[in-house]
């Protein structure tokens, strides 16, 4: 697994080297900072997705949860509530939606695809109802710092992303909960028989994903200076792509957050590079799609070869 993560990293560095050779605008401090900043939202959502996919599930509702927690956050801020109230409220909405997903999967025995597909529609609709379809805007400077602020020369969204990954990495690799995530994905029945409270942990895993969507919503709302009920469409696909490029298996049981972060960066670098090179937006979609499929294809072939 170490070697595979390393492979993804080499892929990223290679991509950077090619772009560096093709355009003088790529390898500048400001451009690299742009890339990590642009990657941060997808990376945060993908961190939660990694938990879910390692456990053998899938979460299609992340984009809609981003929208719903975003509009709750925006509405509270607009009505003059302090950041200390609005942010926990947004986080609670995200966790709540996630736990509901988890309960439907573990206690309701629904396939994750169906449970989260339902939530995808429900949360989107709730966001639209809540705002009557209109974007919410007009927040204080203090909140906007989350998008515009810097620590040293590092933009605030990047700090948030790094914090998320540091904490999530520790949870996934150093705690019992983290080990159960792998165990459930590897063999759910065996895990249950060895006395692990599988239902409880599965529910919590979707809660983690919901929380990550809420964190992403906070950063996105600050960045747009506006909370849109239509925000976050297709985020689920970007997050799944980043996770899978990063070497996490859709079959569950294996994967890493380091890999997902590199996967998200590959997508960010690719989009940035295609913009810098002035590639038409139609062609960009083809390239991005091909890279996703190609990366996983090579991975699968190599695995079969090794086995």
């Amino acid at each position: 697994m170490k070697a595979r993560r390393f492979g993804t990293l080499i892929g990223l560095l290679f991509l950077c080297a090619v772009l560096w050779a093709l355009t003088p605008h790529f390898l500048t401090i400001s451009n690299l900072l742009n890339i990590v900043q642009q990657t941060s939202i997808n990376a945060i959502v993908a961190a939660g997705m990694t938990f879910v996919i390692i456990s053998g599930g899938i979460d299609l509702s992340v984009g809609s949860i981003v929208a719903l927690s975003g509009v709750v956050l925006g509405t509270l801020l607009q009505s003059g509530q302090p950041v200390a109230v609005a942010i926990p409220a947004a986080a609670a909405v995200g966790i709540g939606c996630g736990l509901l997903n988890g309960a439907l999967v573990s206690c309701g025995r629904l396939p994750p695809f169906i449970a989260t597909l339902g939530m995808m529609s429900v949360a989107r609709g709730a966001a639209l109802v809540f705002t009557e379809g209109r974007p919410v805007s007009g927040f204080g400077e203090g909140f906007r710092w989350l998008a515009t602020g810097k620590v040293g020369f590092v933009p605030a969204p990047v700090i948030v992303m790094l914090l998320v990954y540091a904490v999530a990495h520790i949870v996934l690799t150093r705690t019992t909960f983290g080990r159960y995530v792998y165990a459930i994905g590897g063999n759910e029945e065996a895990t249950r028989l060895s006395g692990v409270a599988v239902r409880f942990h599965k529910t919590a895993i979707y809660g983690v994903s919901g929380l990550m969507s809420a964190v992403a919503a906070i950063v996105l709302t600050a960045r747009l200076n506006s909370a849109q009920p239509i925000a976050g469409m297709m985020y689920e696909l970007d997050a799944i792509a980043a996770t899978v490029i990063g070497g996490t298996s859709l079959m569950g049981g294996e994967g890493s957050l380091g890999g997902t972060l590199v996967g998200a960066l590959i997508m960010g670098v690719l989009r940035n590079g295609l913009n810098l090179l002035g590639v038409s937006s139609f062609l960009q979609q083809i390239v991005i799609g091909a890279v996703i499929v190609g990366a996983v294809l090579v991975d699968t072939l190599l695995k079969r070869h090794r086995a």
């Binding site: 290679f14 500048t28 747009l224 239509i230 989009r271 940035n272 913009n275 190609g294």
Partner: protein, 311 residues
């Protein structure tokens, strides 16, 4: 491992890019960036054609980029940030969000890149608060267009109609202005009642679904105004599906080619023509004037026209 796939994909990319590019621009040639909402819409495709024509004529390099989806303002912001890295000389943009995009334009302002706004206005307050000032706005007066459509409806219905409205994405300046114009115009005719008004988010398939539902709820609707032709074309399909073709008048906005054909065929009554080609052309021409140090008027209005079947 994945290095191979990345390598192969990138090789394809490099080849396609090199094939795609016409003669490489001379180093001293100025670059104008035109950032569109999307290129999935004929309106913006026309705008790009106009801009390209002007760029070729005036000897500037034109870089056109667009988000995949019209509503994806975050992607549009990323495009602006990325383009600024390449040292563009003027940024022309059709904002996907009148307020949201301001944060990216602040970066352009800080980089001393002049801004030209096309088609959709910036939110005046958000721009002023952030210290963003566009050199000019190029577009049609959407309010005026909506009013033209409203007047037309009053005329063809002799001031008596039950109207259903298909709105664009809520909160968009473009759609909101068209609707205000339309409503103000029909308000003058007491016999006209707007019985339903629902967003179909600028899309054809949503236009179909929303209007089908509207007809279910209000079978007496005899006139529909859609804030864009794609939605109007969707509504026409819904009318056909309900077997009521020819009995419901359809007025759209944009005068797309498909809409003109529908008007010719009699399934649609009228559409307000905008001239995106002219907007694209004016955007590049204005950019060139800015680079030459000229000051531009705050608004450059592009004409509007009512397209109807000759009677």
């Amino acid at each position: 491992m994945k290095i191979f796939s990345a390598l192969i994909m990138f090789a394809c990319l490099v080849v396609s890019v090199s094939c795609n590019r016409e003669a490489p621009a001379a180093d001293d040639e100025k670059t104008v960036a035109l950032v569109l909402k999307t290129l999935n819409h004929p309106f913006f495709v026309d705008m790009r054609r106009g801009a390209q024509e002007a760029a070729d004529r005036l000897g500037v390099t034109l870089q056109v980029q667009a988000a995949e989806r019209e509503i994806d303002v975050d992607k549009q912001m990323q495009i602006v940030e990325n383009l600024l890295q390449t040292g563009i000389d003027v940024l022309a943009i059709t904002p996907s969000g009148s307020r949201e995009i301001v944060a990216a334009l602040v970066k352009a302002t800080n980089a001393n890149v002049p801004i030209v706004i096309v088609d959709t206005r910036l939110d005046a307050k958000a721009a002023a608060d952030a210290g963003v000032q566009a050199r000019t706005f190029i577009g049609s007066d959407n309010y005026e267009g909506g009013r033209l459509a409203g007047d037309h409806v009053v005329r063809i219905t002799d001031g008596k109609a039950r109207v259903g409205i298909l709105e664009g994405i809520p909160g968009h300046e473009t759609g909101d202005s068209r609707l205000r114009g339309f409503r103000d115009a029909v308000a003058k005719a007491p016999g006209i009642a707007v019985v339903a008004s629902q967003p179909a988010n600028w899309e054809r398939d949503q236009g179909f679904n929303v209007f089908q539902n509207m007809l279910q709820a209000h079978a007496d609707i005899d006139t529909v105004f859609a804030a864009s032709d794609l939605m109007a074309l969707g509504a026409i399909e819904a009318i056909a599906a309900a077997g009521r073709t020819g009995r419901i008048r359809v007025v759209g906005f944009d005068a797309l080619d498909d809409a003109k054909k529908a008007i010719e065929a009699g399934t649609m009554d009228a559409s307000v023509a905008q001239f995106p080609y002219e907007m694209g052309k004016a955007a590049v021409e204005s950019a060139v004037k800015i680079m030459a140090g000229e000051t531009l008027p705050p608004d450059i209005m592009v004409k509007l026209e009512m397209v109807t079947k000759p009677r």
